[in-house]
């Protein structure tokens, strides 16, 4: 059963538990591979996480001259293969979201692999497992469909279509801030 990482940015409290948890995934060498940004730090406490969106046609993999970036059948875009990566850093430039990180010492790109050693067993990635706010969720197709009905994701998400400034369809789905605006209240 295919499941999706889904990001509801409005929920983020900036605790960076996702960063701490990323280091705990078996294949991650205790280095985190995701990001949390302060949106407007001098004004308010809004923060948003950014993880690899696992593009259906990933620019990082397309840009790789060594075919070091594999895509699994579930759609997880993996970290560079140690034996193939030539350290050219094309991928870090190609990625529209700035996801791949580069280890100068090892001359090796590393990035979010959607905790593939967990998700291939149907266990949620570490970031979505620990997220205290449900900013990061691991959803079935049906759950995702319910979210789409609720939050008009097509209108909001960064992965809308090729006319969007951010290119292409992604396996990770996003609801941008604003999900509770205009929400029908239980009473007034």
């Amino acid at each position: 059963m295919k499941q999706h990482l889904y990001i509801e940015m409005d929920n983020c409290i900036g605790c960076r538990s996702c960063l701490a948890a990323c280091t705990q995934c078996g294949g991650h060498d205790e280095r985190n591979r995701n990001y949390v940004y302060d949106v407007n730090p001098l004004v308010d406490r809004q923060t948003i996480p950014l993880m690899c969106l696992h593009c259906v046609n990933p620019a990082c993999a397309r840009s790789c001259p060594a075919q070091a970036i594999q895509v699994t059948e579930e759609g997880a875009v993996l970290s560079a293969l140690v034996e193939k990566c030539i350290g050219c850093q094309n991928c870090t430039i190609a990625c529209p979201y700035g996801i791949p990180k580069f280890d100068e010492e090892q001359n090796l790109m590393y990035k979010c692999d959607l905790c593939y050693d967990r998700t291939k067993e149907g266990i949620p990635p570490m970031c979505a497992s620990v997220c205290p706010t449900n900013t990061l969720q691991w959803l079935t197709e049906e759950e995702l469909a319910a979210k789409k009905a609720q939050h008009q994701m097509g209108k909001w998400t960064a992965s809308r279509d090729f006319l969007d400034p951010l290119e292409g369809e992604t396996n990770v789905k996003i609801s941008l801030p604003g999900i509770i605006q205009g929400k029908q209240k239980l009473f007034v």
């Binding site: 409005d10 929920n11 409290i13 900036g14 605790c15 960076r16 538990s17 960063l19 701490a20 948890a21 280091t23 705990q24 078996g26 730090p41 001098l42 004004v43 308010d44 406490r45 809004q46 923060t47 967990r118 067993e121 149907g122 266990i123 949620p124 570490m126 497992s129 620990v130 997220c131 205290p132 706010t133 449900n134 999900i179 509770i180 929400k183 029908q184 209240k185 239980l186 009473f187």
Partner: protein
């Protein structure tokens, strides 16, 4: 308890050559479920896995929880006892030498006996904490009363939960921090949250809180700062620090005026309505706005929403409790639930966010200066007799009530107390007015500190004893819901460290009091005696066996016997714990903070927490991820205030109050009132904001007013201006 909507059946991730030990976090009152990863060849803790089947938190953890496992095999662990022969080095890390347990305990025995022979039993004191199991908390109370035979024991809950306890006792006649389980929270229609930076202090509550809004319910937040919780609130009541009592009275006044009071509930189940009405009626939105600085229309709308909500929960935390009227604030906000009858049923009620891991259980069972196990009073002869029967003690021998935590320091200054046994606490960081606390601790005749690391307070000790982390022992903890849960042992203690209960028993034996302690060989033995000691008290744990805790995913107290499943919801029968079964509506006139801003100290200083640190930071400041995320204190300043003082973002400034001073970087943010500045308190030595805070104590709870005092802010070049010199110190 049925599984809630967030529950998913998820298998645990297993790793080769490892086993998982199901337990809970070492830190806050949420007590998030976690699995510790233990290497089966070294038998050491090496990591963490989510505990997806824990019904309260479902695998979720904050960054402290994710990295908590790193404490146990940390390089800073104390592995052997330390002795300092040169008392002139007190107050520093210098002069300690490693010693055997034999030598350390010999010295403790000799010095304790000498001091008591010369100055009486009460010359010794115990200062304890509640980041440890019920079994340890229980035994520490027994240790003070029976082994040291002193009246002077108190604990760091005086800086944490004592106002909630005092307020609830007065209002309900019972102090269980939450009247309902956390799994109800997301199903309510309105959350009214006052003085809780929930997103940073109890982050794993947040998915339930956001769900209230996702369902179309309301979130009302009372806080001087626009915290990550307040950022998304439907209404943010951005009050001046220390003015909660006026705001709560205004809410009650408007609720009554709007016709949202439940007259039949008030009539049948409460006392004091007329007196309450007399006090709150002057708190019009306009008058309340003058005191609190909150716009009248926001006050009106908040009261309307809470009043209209079919189900609602009033919640609060240290923001309202760490004031010199903290107990009054608790009773005043609780009045909202009682006047509307939104209590004593599922999805409605009142809850405080308990701070420490065992802040609930640790305050119930005899570490408090006037309490005995089961929430019995040491001043009640019947209660004393009940405990003496369990302990095999002549009631005549039971010491009388002592004094509160901060007042113990005053008795140290007066030399009434000359010796201190400190465990599970770091008061030279967490007490108010720490210049004073440091001076009196330095001047003690003899001090023992038990800790896992060399804390800032251990720097004042003559003997430091290495104790175990939470993962090296087992026992129960009572989480913020009032749910008794089980902490499991994941590895053997490192070095020569021992659990605090074992150390206390060994000292008791050396003091010739073994007959009260030597039968306790394991944490389980203590648990069995402890449950018996609570039997018949209103915090009754007698039926909460370890087996039942495992089987039921925890047991809510009271749990009176084997057949009793426990009490997730309090007051379902609308019976409160006062003799007539009614709750007390408290009529509470407003009092301003003990220290209001003046010409010299024009700003309001408030203190609090960040998500990356726990309490005094003795644990979390040693964890690389957490330290990297927040390495030092800072002061939050509104841009208007920063402009007025000519200070810039990240500039280092000097803060002064009448009690002390500190330097830190400025964090400019619009998320704070212009008349208020905020500093997190988790840091030691010169970085401790408690150098500045005021020891104005609540008359009921003896809670210091950490949340409001008057301060000035100075650019560094003007830090030694004549103005400062004239008023400092």
């Amino acid at each position: 308890m049925p599984k809630d909507k967030f529950f998913k059946e998820i298998a645990n991730k297993t790793h080769p050559n490892e086993k998982l030990v199901a337990t809970h976090c070492s830190y806050c009152g949420m007590q998030c479920g976690m699995n510790l990863r233990v290497d089966t060849s070294s038998n050491k803790i090496i990591g963490v896995e989510p505990r997806y089947d824990w019904p309260v938190t479902l695998g979720k953890m904050c960054p402290k929880g994710v990295t908590a496992y790193q404490q146990t095999n940390h390089k800073d662990r104390l592995l052997r006892p330390l002795i300092r022969d040169d008392a002139s080095k007190k107050g520093t890390k210098e002069g300690f030498r490693e010693a055997s347990w034999e030598e350390a305990l010999d010295l403790i025995e000799r010095r304790f006996k000498e001091l008591q022979a010369k100055h009486g039993k009460d010359t010794l004191s115990v200062f304890s904490g509640v980041s440890m199991t019920n079994e340890k908390c229980y035994l520490t109370g027994k240790f003070a009363r029976l082994a040291l035979q002193t009246r002077y024991i108190d604990y760091n809950g005086r800086f944490c939960m004592s106002s909630a306890a005092a307020g609830f006792l007065r209002t309900f006649g019972v102090d269980r921090g939450s009247t309902l389980p956390w799994t109800d929270l997301h199903e309510t229609d309105c959350l009214f949250i006052a003085g809780s930076n929930t997103a940073e202090c109890h982050p794993t509550s947040m998915f339930r809180i956001w769900e209230v809004q996702n369902r179309g319910g309301y979130l009302i937040v009372v806080d001087p700062r626009e915290t990550p919780l307040a950022r998304r609130a439907d209404i943010h009541l951005d009050l001046r620090p220390g003015t909660d009592l006026a705001l709560a009275n205004c809410m009650v006044n408007l609720i009554i005026q709007n016709g949202h009071a439940d007259k039949s509930f008030v009539e049948s189940h409460t006392n004091g309505f007329q007196e309450l009405l007399e006090v709150v009626k002057e708190f019009t939105p306009e008058y309340t706005s003058e005191i609190t600085g909150v716009a009248p229309e926001k006050l009106i709308r908040a009261a309307e929403i809470y009043g209209k909500a079919p189900e609602a929960v009033v919640m609060f935390a240290r923001g309202i409790e760490q004031q010199h009227k903290g107990a009054d604030n608790v009773s005043a906000y609780t009045n909202m639930a009682l006047v509307t009858g939104k209590i004593g049923r599922p999805k409605s009620g009142v809850a405080t966010f308990t701070g420490q891991g065992n802040g609930q259980g640790g305050r119930e069972h005899g570490q408090k200066s006037d309490l005995l196990p089961g929430y019995r009073k040491i001043t009640n002869p019947k209660h004393v007799e009940e405990i003496c029967e369990v302990w095999g003690l002549d009631p005549e021998e039971m010491p009388g009530p002592g004094v509160s935590a901060y007042e113990m320091f005053e008795l140290m200054e007066q030399k009434t107390i000359r010796g201190l046994y400190l465990l599970c606490s770091n008061p030279v960081v967490s007490a108010p007015n720490v210049n004073y606390v440091r001076a009196v601790m330095k001047d003690l005749d003899f001090m023992v500190c038990s800790d896992i690391y060399l804390s800032e307070s251990a720097e004042y000790a003559d003997v430091v004893l290495p104790t175990t982390t939470w993962a090296e022992d087992e026992g129960t903890v009572t989480n913020l819901e009032g749910r008794i849960i089980k902490i499991n042992k994941a590895q053997e203690p490192v070095g020569e460290s021992k659990p605090d209960w074992q150390i206390e028993i060994e000292i008791a034996e050396r003091l010739g009091r073994g007959k009260y302690f030597s039968h306790l060989k394991t944490a389980k033995d203590i648990s069995d005696e402890f449950r018996l000691a609570t039997k018949g008290g209103y915090a009754d744990y007698y039926g909460a066996t370890w087996e039942k805790i495992d089987r039921q995913h925890g047991v809510f107290w009271p749990c009176k016997d084997e057949a009793d499943p426990g009490t997730p919801h309090m007051f379902l029968d609308k019976q409160f714990y006062h003799p007539d079964g009614k709750a007390k509506l408290c009529a509470l006139p407003y009092r301003p903070p003990a220290e209001e801003p003046c010409e010299t100290y024009p700003l309001r200083l408030t203190t609090g927490r960040v998500v990356y640190h726990y309490l005094s930071g003795n644990q979390t400041r040693r964890i690389p991820f957490l330290r990297d995320m927040c390495p030092e204190p800072y002061v939050e300043v509104h841009p208007e205030t920063a402009a007025a003082y000519g200070i810039a973002h990240e500039e280092v400034v000097r803060l002064h109050t009448r009690r002390g001073e500190m330097s830190c970087k400025v964090k400019v943010t619009e998320a704070i009132r212009p008349d208020t500045v905020f500093v997190p308190y988790h840091f030691g030595h010169d970085d401790s904001v408690n150098l500045l805070t005021i020891p104005a104590l609540d008359p009921m709870s003896r809670m210091p007013e950490f949340k409001a005092c008057a301060a000035q802010i100075n650019k560094l070049e003007s830090a030694s201006s004549p103005l400062t010199k004239a008023t400092g110190g």
